[in-house]
């Protein structure tokens, strides 16, 4: 029989493969391919690639990276893919990936006593030095606990000892890591590329010096950099009414800063990752090659945490983008390219990029997509260009708010006439379906604001029918509950309760259905209010919420982002039990409006945004005052650039994309020689 690649010679020793024990289980689980690894562009490095120091110290830096969701969602995650490659390029370091196992596999692992494993070397998570977890959504917290527990790593950081991995979280949810403070050793906020290398350096130095101070010593070194938050080194005091009194460095942790800074990578062209994107064998949610064309956004949408915490805007150059796509397609064989960012049509040279790519890949059956949702006619031109000759099925726009008033509140500057003329342009260019994204439960919102979505959708259909001369055009309204997030101007606002959200959506549904002339042409998709309350609790929670997470997890909470696994009742039960002795409850964390002077659980994590500016922006929101984009108007002092010593990095560069000849060269090699 051919040798099975997972097997390694030293069973039982650290870093040895568990594959031979896993293999019989793979016969019994759904979609076993997600656990076998071996994806194109994946890598398994020597466990001792870092060698040993002069006194016999082992010096390899070993990261296990996890995105705590199912493989099909987790594998395409760009963050993990980038860090995986950045770390593995370093000769003395290795990174392997781990994903959440489905309940069928979890049960078998427990029965057989097998650890949570990496899919690359099938090594036990507990064997690694560092366990890096990318938390882009709070609904992955219970999956993090499952992974720790399956790996035999103590759930609480205070119970971990020398030899246990350092558990580090990153990603957007890490901007308020307090709800998981008990379970993690450290959090890193902001861009990860440079940060993982700095942590790796620190680990190497600590190892080469004979691991002074053990685990505690290493954590102290990390915390003293000012860029790694170690919750155990900070004490939280509460007021009698339940609000936070103070968060301060613990007396035992000398030299630890009061506030921990986010990391910001400048010059994206110097970080062209992923160079070799992973290509899964199993089906995944994004079957394409993604290129981040810029990072950050200063549109200033007040609900948008991503836009607030990733400032300033840093563009990748048109030529940098062209090179990444060229090498990425050659390395993967993907037939679709997605140009990613928070608002892709805003790249200073997007028209040149779209035309250049469309020219380059014409006739190669390569799809190009721009998942931008900006509402203007320029966006239609771009979509047309990227879609040359293809079938024009659907376009998506995100007005976010139903009425012009509420759009001023959220600072999404789109008038109704803009929207109608944009969809008119889409229908006249042959697009047949328009999707519109909205939110429900925005600050100051009334039923009337939401009901205007129905009028808008009807106007869209009316316009489409008039312009296309056809009746079979469609508009889909997709709407979800708004969840206030940390580090945004809405971090103080009260979230709309689940019953109120559901009632408002019900009224909207009736308003759409009531008019027979349009009802069949308008699709309506909405999310129930209940999951939003749990997400809201986890988003703006403090350390006391950790007990809720643990109780829900012990009661079986897993995969909370999946509606078929999510249970609102379980979470409410857990909250009632865990917060019974506290002066706070779920409503206190979610639907309560906060005051200006309240200490927020994440105030000591520095996103660069000035809290006074955020408060002013919150007041402006309440007064329907809009704010411009600092890329084309003067700085409005959000605070990020001076605080983080960064600057906006945008074009234009004036360069263009030249035609490619590589594809032809590859083919010539295959032709029959006569």
């Amino acid at each position: 029989m051919p040798e099975r690649p997972g097997d390694r010679p030293l069973p039982g020793s650290a870093g040895s493969s568990l594959f031979s024990r896993l293999e019989p289980l793979l016969e019994q689980v759904s979609k076993p391919i997600q656990y076998v690894g071996g994806e194109l562009n994946s890598i398994v490095k020597d466990w001792n690639c870092g060698g040993v120091g002069p006194d016999g110290q082992e010096l390899t830096v070993r990261w296990a990276l996890m995105y705590p969701d199912a493989y099909e969602v987790a594998l395409p995650n760009q963050g993990v893919m980038i860090l995986y490659e950045v770390i593995n390029e370093r000769p003395d370091a290795l990174a392997e990936r781990s994903y959440s196992v489905w309940p069928d596999m979890e049960a078998l692992l427990r029965r057989e006593g097998i650890s949570q494993f990496t899919v690359d070397g099938h090594r036990a998570l507990g064997d690694f030095d560092l366990f890096g977890v990318s938390m882009s959504t709070e609904l992955g917290y219970t999956n993090l606990l499952t992974a720790l527990d399956l790996a035999g790593i103590p759930l609480h950081s205070r119970d971990r000892v020398d030899g246990d991995p350092i558990v580090i979280v990153g990603g957007h949810a890490a901007f308020n890591p307090e709800p998981v403070a008990d379970f993690i050793d450290a959090a890193i906020v902001g861009d990860g590329e440079q940060a993982v290398l700095e942590v790796s350096d620190l680990l190497t130095t600590w190892k080469s010096q004979g691991r002074p101070g053990g685990r505690h010593g290493l954590l102290l070194r990390l915390a003293r950099t000012g860029g790694v938050y170690v919750p155990a080194f900070y004490d939280v005091d509460y007021l009698p009414d339940g609000r936070i009194k103070r968060v301060a460095p613990a007396t035992s942790a000398s030299g630890v800063p009061w506030r921990v800074s986010k990391h910001t990578v400048m010059d994206l062209d110097a970080w062209p990752y992923p160079k070799k994107p992973l290509v899964p064998l199993a089906e995944s949610v994004h079957e394409r090659m993604s290129v981040e064309i810029f990072r950050g956004c200063t549109r200033g949408c007040r609900f948008c945490q991503a836009g607030m915490i990733t400032r300033p805007v840093r563009e990748r150059s048109i030529t940098g983008i062209g090179e990444m796509i060229e090498t990425g397609l050659a390395a993967t064989g993907f037939d679709e390219v997605g140009l990613l960012s928070l608002s892709s049509a805003d790249h200073s040279e997007i028209a040149e990029i779209a035309k250049g790519l469309a020219d380059r890949y014409e006739g190669t059956q390569t799809g190009l997509s721009l998942p931008s949702t900006r509402v203007d006619a320029f966006n239609i031109d771009l979509a047309n260009e990227l879609n040359r000759g293809g079938r024009r099925s659907g376009l998506t726009f995100a007005p976010e708010g139903g009425s012009e008033r509420i759009r001023r509140v959220i600072n999404k500057m789109v008038s109704e006439d803009d929207l109608i003329s944009t969809v008119g342009a889409a229908y006249s260019a042959g697009w047949r379906q328009v999707k519109l994204y909205f939110m429900c439960g925005l600050p100051t919102e009334t039923d009337e604001d939401v009901l205007q979505i129905a009028d808008l959708a009807k106007r869209v259909i009316e316009t489409g029918r008039r312009i296309s001369g056809q009746r079979d055009i469609r508009c889909t309204v997709s709407i979800g509950g708004f969840i206030p997030k940390p580090h945004t101007p809405f971090q103080w606002c009260g979230q709309l309760g689940a019953p109120e959200t559901d009632a408002r959506l019900q009224k909207l549904r009736e308003a759409i259905r009531s008019d027979k002339r349009y009802a069949s042409a308008i699709g309506f998709r909405y999310h129930d209010g209940q999951p939003g309350i749990v997400e809201g609790l986890l988003s703006r929670g403090d350390r006391r919420v950790g007990k809720v997470i643990e109780a829900a997890w012990r009661d079986g909470a897993r995969f909370d982002g999946w509606s078929e696994h999510f249970s609102y009742e379980r979470w409410m039960r857990a909250a009632e039990e865990a917060l019974a002795d506290e002066p706070v409850d779920v409503a206190w964390y979610t639907t309560r409006e906060r005051g200006e002077s309240e200490v927020l659980p994440w105030d000591h994590l520095d996103s660069g945004l000035d809290k006074d500016w955020l408060w002013q922006d919150w007041q402006d929101a309440l007064n329907d005052v809009e704010v411009e984009d600092c890329r084309w108007t003067p700085c409005f002092d959000c605070g990020v650039c001076p605080q983080m010593d960064t600057n906006i990095e945008i074009g234009p560069t004036g360069k263009t994309l030249l035609p490619l000849t590589v594809v032809k060269a590859g083919k010539a090699n295959l032709l029959e020689r006569t």
């Binding site: 690649p5 293999e23 391919i33 056809q470």
Partner: protein
């Protein structure tokens, strides 16, 4: 307003190639769809000048034949591709092997002569080997004897449209139990005719369980050694590409009947 694709229609197909590949090691857990996606990407990476179908969603012209079930390994899987420029089969074999993940290995590429009968028609039977780790050969030998003594052995399998009951015995051409040379496991060789519904190795196992309560300690490692025309006289599965090789005058890969040497 209905639109038609702009530009000229796709270039016509000028050559059809038949490919035999293996699914090995941990990649035996890949499904048919997993393989299809991997192949399409490998064809793009290796710049094979694929012929495409017309229309708004052009697809590369590939036809897949009778893939082994998820979880089973195989030394004899087949597909055909059509290309719009003549290419050298051996170069394609090398290029595809570089582009596919290790464990999906292209073994043989031959040109299909114009007008040659469909490959699927030649795939009449499969030769399977099942490796039962940690099981004495005796119980397997007994179970095989019991099964062969029956005229019909019906099994029920849940398919997409619900449970379906069908006979396994009539599809089984030969069934031989033997000990592994090193004595660590029992080995079952099965030549099974391709019927509708297909009798899969796990159906044979279900049948063995139903006639003789055979319950292996762990699921066996299953590998398809060959599929092709069935020579009933000696229960041999022949090489389905042999006819094409004769026409091409090329020497193909290993003869199918002796594929067991790779096991």
């Amino acid at each position: 307003m209905a639109r038609t694709p702009e530009g000229p229609p796709p270039a016509p197909s000028v050559q059809k190639l038949r490919v035999r590949y293996a699914k090995r090691g941990r990649l035996r857990f890949s499904s048919t769809r997993d393989f299809q996606r991997a192949l399409e990407r490998a064809l793009r990476r290796s710049a094979v000048p694929m012929a495409f179908s017309a229309g708004f969603h052009p697809h590369p012209k590939i036809s897949y034949a009778n893939a082994a079930p998820t979880g089973t390994a195989s030394e004899a899987e087949y597909f055909e591709i059509s290309v719009n420029e003549r290419i050298d089969p051996q170069r394609v074999r090398t290029a595809l092997n570089e582009a596919l993940p290790e464990g999906l290995d292209v073994l043989e590429v031959v040109e299909a002569p114009p007008g040659s009968p469909a490959l699927a028609d030649r795939l009449q039977a499969s030769d399977w080997v099942m490796e039962f780790r940690g099981m004495p050969v005796g119980s397997l030998t007994d179970a095989v004897a019991w099964l062969l003594a029956q005229e019909r052995v019906e099994v029920t399998r849940v398919m997409k449209k619900g449970p379906r009951t069908f006979d396994v015995r009539s599809a089984v051409v030969s069934l031989v139990a033997s000990p592994a040379p090193d004595g660590t496991c029992a080995i079952l060789r099965a030549v099974v005719r391709h019927t509708t519904p297909t009798v899969r190795p796990d159906d044979v196992l279900t049948a063995l369980y139903s006639v003789a309560a055979l319950t292996p300690p762990t699921p066996p490692l299953v590998t398809r050694l060959a599929q092709g025309p069935l020579h009933t006289a000696n229960a041999m599965v022949a090489d389905p590409l042999a006819a094409d090789q004769d026409v091409n005058g090329t020497i193909g890969g290993d003869a199918q009947g002796s594929a067991s040497s790779e096991v």
